[in-house]
Symmetry: C2
Subunit: 449 residues, 2 copies
């Protein structure tokens, strides 16, 4: 049974009859999880216990590796039944991952209809509305009555999510109106549908990015949105369950890119090799960039040899400056990401960030002076003053870079989340080190402090 926390307690796999009855009464996603966690050789056994309808539903919830494994383990007839019954968008996602040979074997065994639906979706680039849409929607011709429309919907009732809205098109499939099941149910059967349909259809285009689709649906609280081609002809719909997943993936990507995980697709359970590929190149890039920051210190080695307390203070303002920059950067990237602000708001955003930055600069500058006094010997107390001023200046630069860089990237259509925290930190360190060490050297050499 499904426990309150959502985990499953099932009979041991040795009692197959008992297990069969339990599995066929659980939600498909839970059965999917159960099968995924079984040892490899038992997965096909458990899967064969499922009734046909149940098997089809469960299959869509399995991770691609396990789908592949089952496709090899099951009879071709069973595989074909499952593939035929999948939603076209899920089928395309599976085909993307399967070896080309397997796809070639499976594709001709699909019905002509399903093959056509697959071909349509597979023709759109990844990450666009065309690729994530499903072609299973209810389309009504203009001129039907409410009664005829309901009969049509009843007959085409294939999928629970795609039935709450029906789309009205003209003879060339051009999208004209949207009508909800609710409206149809509570209107007299001989009313023409155009009398109750809404002309103000919110729609997306096949080439719209999946993120934009998700934002639109979130904005207008839609549970499905129609997808049209450039001629405004209806080609599919996107449902809210896909949008929830898209928003989640996108947030994960933003978070990971900020931390310098290249693909934004790492997870705790990814293979060590893919983790390494996602992270090492970027770390090496950061080290290469940091040659600049370190090289900016090198010419000042004499100064450091004379006043070694500098080496105690420098990491402190480098670490704090990086933190200031990362805060501004993160808030800006997220606000751009969720569509709360655009480049047009640059001055407004920068104004607010700089005002807050002034407060930050004051607070951190004063703290820096106090802290530096801990380590500076009496003759070098003036170093604390310089450190405080540089900390304050560095905070202002940090806020400015953290705010403007992502907006600039967005303007030239580069993903702002690529400017990760450590990248900004590296830039800030270079500026801070040069400023600090120059001022100190100047003080020593010119004013003989």
């Amino acid at each position: 049974m499904l426990t309150r926390e959502g985990s499953i307690e099932l009979s041991d796999i040795t009692d197959l009859n008992q297990l069969k009855s339990e599995l066929n009464h659980l939600p498909a996603v839970d059965v999917g999880d159960y099968i995924s966690e079984l040892p490899g050789e038992r997965r096909a056994i458990a899967f064969r216990l499922l009734s046909k309808g149940c098997a089809i539903a469960v299959f869509e919830y399995l991770p691609t590796e396990i789908q592949e494994e089952l496709i090899e383990a099951l009879h071709d007839t069973q595989v074909c039944q499952i593939i035929e019954a999948m939603r076209p968008d899920d089928r395309v996602a599976l085909f993307d991952e399967l070896p080309a040979g397997v796809v070639k074997r499976l594709l001709p065994q699909l019905s002509p209809e399903e093959r056509a639906a697959t071909a349509i979706i597979i023709g759109y680039p990844e990450g666009t509305a065309g690729r994530v849409m499903t072609t299973e929607y209810v389309r009504l011709r203009q001129g039907l009555t409410v009664g005829e429309a309901l009969a049509k919907i009843k007959q085409s009732d294939r999928d629970k999510e795609t039935i709450y809205y029906a789309y009205v098109t003209d003879d060339s499939r051009k999208l004209m109106q949207v009508v909800s099941l609710r409206q149809l149910v509570f209107t007299l059967p001989d009313t023409p549908i155009q009398d109750i349909g809404s002309d103000r259809v919110i729609k997306v285009y096949t080439e719209t990015s999946q993120e934009d689709v998700a934002r639109q649906m979130q904005r207008y609280d839609l549970i499905a949105v129609p997808v049209v081609d450039r001629e405004d002809r209806l080609v599919g719909i996107i449902t809210i369950d896909d949008v929830v997943d898209i928003l989640q993936e996108e947030a994960t990507e933003d978070i990971q890119k900020l931390a310098g995980v290249a693909s934004g697709e790492d997870s705790s359970l990814s293979s060590p090799w893919s983790k390494l590929q996602n992270r090492l190149p970027w770390l090496l890039g950061i080290m290469a960039l940091y040659i600049g920051a370190s090289s900016s210190i090198a010419p000042f080695q004499d100064t450091i040899a004379k006043i070694p307390v500098l080496a105690v203070i420098m990491p402190l303002f480098s670490n704090t400056g990086g933190a200031v920059g990362t805060q501004a950067l993160t808030v800006t990237i997220r606000s751009l990401g969720v569509g709360e602000v655009t480049a047009a708001d640059t001055l407004k955003i920068l104004g607010k960030e700089l005002l807050a930055g002034l407060g930050t600069a004051l607070g951190l500058g004063l703290t820096m002076i106090l802290l530096a006094l801990i380590w500076t010997p009496p003759a070098e107390r003036w170093v604390a003053l310089v450190a405080g001023s540089v900390m304050a200046a560095n905070s202002i630069v940090a806020v400015t870079l953290g705010t403007l860089l992502p907006i600039a990237f967005k303007q030239v259509n580069v993903d702002p989340a690529l400017i990760s925290g450590p990248l900004v930190t590296t830039l800030l360190d270079t500026i801070g080190f040069i400023l600090f060490l120059s001022l100190i050297t100047l003080s020593v050499n010119v004013w003989h402090l």
Copy 2:
């Protein structure tokens, strides 16, 4: 009209008749945006142009500050109409923000029904299912027929989102079954509803956290979920549009906390003062913590004075070590956050991270040696070897801390996202500096290198 990109082009506010007709034909969310962006004194003018139904819909999309402003600017009768018509969960969210005096004035003017609905929701703690649910749902008594059920639904049809499922309860409101509008529509009217309803109702409890509700709905692809109390009595439902917003807020919080923005509620457009409050205390905390890292350098000032190239190399491995730790930390926090892994997977996760970490340590250690050779004079080439080894060791420590800290925090029920990147960096720096400078000092003093 609504342009393809979703922005609005409206007539100038001086042509009020034209504007009125345009506003009343736009989606409520777009009108809300338009009004929000008007200068303060014009907002009430534009709002008064809206028809009653439109005004109610638009009001729910306005930010709380502007809702407050309009409540002051409009006639009490109009305010009461709007407040009365709001969904109870939105009304509670507004009351949370309004001055207590205004709430006291408005509450008695609500109808007894709506006042009761408000009181129920306001009684649950923020962030729980009870607080975000709506009490506007369709409840059917056991024993009705499909025809009677449809008549009941038609009569109680208040809100577009809450009608696609109806919930069947016994006389004590105990939740028994769920039935979809689709099932009702396509079943003969005299069928008893218990014959078509599903007993396998996925439900949440009033005290379930809003994040858990969101995960459950995402997992089971639901567009609404019933909320029950401890006695399994139906008290409300939560709809998918709220869940999309909850998931989004939660992702923003995770992202911002990682960057050390305290409340996780900062946005580019927050006031400078709230930005400062959200960020400065945390920066000061980081500086205070960093006293440890800097203090760990202080005793080695003699060594640095002798070998000033150390000050060139130290920031390089500190910066890179921090980046390694932040990567592991971010991936772990996000995987925990989306519920992909739990503490039970600790060993599996750590194994994978450490394997990847070994590769990282090797790559970064070797690179560190090469880079350090740029700056070290011939007599001090051995420093590069020590730097490389410490870089490698620091990478392993970074991966271990980045992986284990969030899991440990989660285990003791502290939000793992509180361990921000810079916090881990500070810890790593302290360890790295002590290790590096001790090894160097040892080499100088004991082996006289």
